[in-house]
């Protein structure tokens, strides 16, 4: 009996490690079951107010500089807005002429501040300070003025978890703005993205702008995604290898906009 107790005591760290590893592997293979989503909701709801408070203090120091920057931006945007109004009127006239179908208008965009980042260095997700209380729901696109950021994957009472495009499981149907060639933009590690499924014969150049194509049904058409920085094609490959630099700086996200669409929640795109 004494020997058994001695053995158990000595093996305790090993047994604990084995149990921890087994549970972790099970969790890794389980994915997002309902129980896991419930556990996630509880933990994020408990931690979010504290993170929100700290973020608020953190942002106080930046407010002055931000205010100055926003005033300047406001003036610039007001001028740009005048030009765009002219362009919009012209666009309406041309569309009527060509009998184009009016594109669906976005019903609203909602400003939300980033209150926490994923506490590891991978940066696959951020927590924003708007949730079910402000009408958010899953799969809504999240953007900044520079382009598409990601999509809402979990909604909590006062916050929401946003899956960034810098996640391998968040591909976007994209197209090259200049030539309208479609492809699939996805993250493969590092700081750049790859535009895949573009046949090697197609005309793609460095500096080409990549925008969302709207084909997945999840993200609206025309949102900026990035710029082509490298194009190469191999003899044996049917497709080009296109490296894209994202237009959004995912490390400096402070505020984001959630596009609240009037249409019904679309189906999720399978990676």
């Amino acid at each position: 009996m004494a020997r058994l107790a001695f053995w158990t005591d000595r093996s305790r760290p090993y047994i604990t490690l084995a149990v921890a590893v087994i549970i972790s592997v099970i969790l890794l293979t389980m994915g997002g079951s309902h129980k896991m989503i419930a556990a996630r909701t509880i933990t994020v709801t408990v931690l979010a107010p504290v993170q929100k408070g700290i973020s608020w203090f953190n942002q106080l120091g930046e407010l002055l500089a931000q205010n100055r920057r926003l005033r300047r931006l406001n003036t610039e945007l007001a001028l740009e807005n005048q030009l765009l109004r002219e362009a919009q009127l012209e666009n309406v006239r041309l569309r009527q002429l060509l009998s184009f179908r009016e594109r669906e208008q976005l019903s609203a965009i909602l400003l939300a501040e980033v209150i926490a980042r994923e506490p590891d260095r991978q940066m696959n997700s951020i927590l924003i300070g708007a949730g079910r209380d402000r009408g958010l729901r899953r799969n809504l696109p999240v953007v900044t003025s520079r382009g598409l950021v990601g999509k809402v994957v979990e909604v909590f009472p006062g916050s929401a978890l946003v899956q960034l495009l810098m996640d391998r499981n968040c591909p976007v149907s994209a197209m090259i703005q200049r030539t309208r060639i479609s492809g699939l933009l996805s993250y493969h590690g590092g700081t750049t993205f790859r535009l895949e499924n573009v046949p090697w014969r197609m005309d793609v150049r460095e500096g080409d702008e990549i925008i969302s194509s709207g084909l997945g049904g999840l993200f609206p058409k025309g949102l900026r995604l990035g710029q082509v920085i490298e194009v190469s094609s191999h003899e044996r490959s049917l497709f080009k290898k296109i490296t894209v630099e994202p237009s959004v700086d995912f490390n400096s996200l402070e505020e984001v906009f959630v596009i609240v669409q009037s249409a019904e929640e679309p189906e999720e795109v399978e990676p």
């Binding site: 921890a20 590893v21 931690l47 926490a116 506490p119 696959n124 994957v153 996640d167 499981n169 493969h188």
Partner: protein, 164 residues
């Protein structure tokens, strides 16, 4: 009481890691406070406590990851166990050996994390290790060195203060 203290420590560390740590980032490189805290738990409580702490804190980290639930729990429990084993098996007293172990712990953690996360793209995993893992490990080791140094100084000063 010990458990409560650990929960409190890791609660504070997690909140700091997800909010304020980016303020001390150098060229985007941030110290890993979670592994630093795990190192201290392993030093004070051994591998059993460090494994459990690593698993629990990893699980909370995983809550923020939409698709990799369990990955941080796996990496952190392995690192917690290894750190505890190191403290027991190797007599680590000096500041530099401790900092080196901390450096190795972050590198090992990131190697495991990036290889599993980016599997089967091993090249990207190793590239992330070089560009993110090693600078982070260096930053964490330097921060750890400073903390060990201050703790040691405080310990040296204590008897003097008692005499005075």
């Amino acid at each position: 009481m010990k458990v409560l203290r650990m929960v409190l420590i890791f609660g504070v560390v997690l909140i700091l890691q997800s909010t304020l740590v980016r303020l001390v980032a150098i060229e985007g490189v941030q110290p890993d406070l979670i592994i630093l805290a795990l190192f201290f738990i392993a030093l004070l409580e051994g591998s059993y406590a460090a494994t459990i702490a690593g698993f629990c804190v990893g699980l909370v980290q995983d809550i923020y990851a939409p698709d990799t639930l369990g990955l941080n729990a796996l990496c952190n429990s392995l690192i917690g166990f290894a750190l505890g084993f190191c403290q027991r098996g190797v007599f680590v007293e000096g500041l530099i050996p401790r900092s080196l172990i901390l450096f190795a712990a972050v590198v090992l953690h990131d190697l495991l994390y990036f290889l599993i996360f980016l599997w089967p793209d091993v090249g990207s995993g190793l590239s992330r290790l070089l560009t993110v893992g090693i600078p982070t490990a260096l930053y964490t080791a330097i921060l750890g060195y400073l903390i060990f140094y201050f703790i040691q100084k405080k310990k040296q000063l204590q008897p003097l203060q008692e005499i005075q």
